[in-house]
Assembly symmetry: C2
Amino acid sequence: MTTSTNPCPSENKKHCHHDMQVNCGNCRLNTICLPIALETDQIDQLDKIIQRGRPLRKGEHLYHANDPFTSVYAVRAGAIKCYSITNDGKEQVTGFYLPGEVLGMDGISKHRHGSSAKALETSAVCEIPFENLGDLSTRIPSLQRHFFQLMSQEITQDQELITLLSKNSAEQRIAALLLSISSRQARRKLSATRFRLPMSRTDIGNYLGLTVETVSRVFSRFQKLELIAVDNKELELLKPDTLRLMVDGEEGE
Amino acid sequence: MTTSTNPCPSENKKHCHHDMQVNCGNCRLNTICLPIALETDQIDQLDKIIQRGRPLRKGEHLYHANDPFTSVYAVRAGAIKCYSITNDGKEQVTGFYLPGEVLGMDGISKHRHGSSAKALETSAVCEIPFENLGDLSTRIPSLQRHFFQLMSQEITQDQELITLLSKNSAEQRIAALLLSISSRQARRKLSATRFRLPMSRTDIGNYLGLTVETVSRVFSRFQKLELIAVDNKELELLKPDTLRLMVDGEEGE
DNA sequence: CGCCTGGTTGAGAATCATCAACATCTGTGG
DNA sequence: CCACAGATGTTGATGATTCTCAACCAGGCG
């Protein structure tokens, strides 16, 4: 990871990919991201409305809750965490978004973002102005359909999380999160068993309705049982099938 | 509520409204339901694609999880509960839908319903074939926009439930549910303080991630504190502001 | 009338939160 | 390059909330 050959003087960071030239047509995520199911010329049309800004550094915000809603965003690199602040001032993490995933759709109804979005590490996102997307969708029915599907997916995922919070133990919740990240890695053709967790233990706990301490203890227990190997944020799933069994629960019946 | 003048011989039930002749234009819910923000002639177009079947009796299903997805549904009367079955065979209630509300949107992404929908009492629904809605949306941008908003709302609500489950005590969760129903009553110009709970204690507990026993105890406690008056399913909010304080939490700070 | 479902109440147990101490990591400046 | 500070993570002891199990009550329907 040398930066010596970095030809971008204005962005002296190892993560500078000169992404300004990226477009949906050549993006390696285009089989899992918004352009899925579009024809080449339609991708070009989509591409025209998409804006790509400079990368976000770790900790930078993409938007804040209550900002006027103008766009949804697709993650190109890195990881974004969405969270809102509860009426008593606590943070509630509502989701983690990895490359190829679209965030910000909760802002559509109120014309304001319902949550804040913050980079967990250096990240790149594609901004998709929503007005334009709506217009384009009326002309490209398959795009409209796909965007409906994206939103529906978000609903389904939220409902799965609700079930997880409502019915499952700390161990099951954490196993489920690890497996979720694993399958999202696989979708991107990356290793399903070895990856780096982009978020802190605190964020994991917050997302899953647990305290940091509980998360830490479960990680330790899993490690002792040789279900996973943890080195800080580096993670290896040693027995993914056992984890799956934990989640899919043998208990009920 | 007399049935003596009921001129519908085939449906000898007090809930028979002769709804076959109902249309979006004359439906008293049309200011809060899908037609919101549509012009009169657009409402007619919408009305043409909507199908209205016979009422559902208590316990009947509108659709089952995994049924092919063809339509979303707007509740006209009664109450519908949506639920899914977890991998270990337990039921998870994912939402209660009251008149003027739209359900079934979680089926869009997989072309199959993600959950089952069951009438909690005699109910009437309007079926909105999704293909037709998509087509119509490409011709009526404001309909497309509104439907995007509906889905976005569903996401927002799910995220609020996630927060509730993740951060709040049994008392706070139940207070929040009561207030939610209350405000939805108000939206329909019904009493915000006196209403009948269409769902069982078991359903409430299931929805909120609590056991029946806990729900029952909290109801008793609230009653003892004179926050509410309960008579079976009939409910009166005696001190809604106190309930609101409980939910909006004084504790955190 | 008695059964069955749904609801209430009690006693004890379990999971997870809280509080507290300590360890580790990161980045900063000497 | 090392030292240090602050943030982040780990581990232990204790306690509270909620679940579990169990008994009992109320209402609706055959």
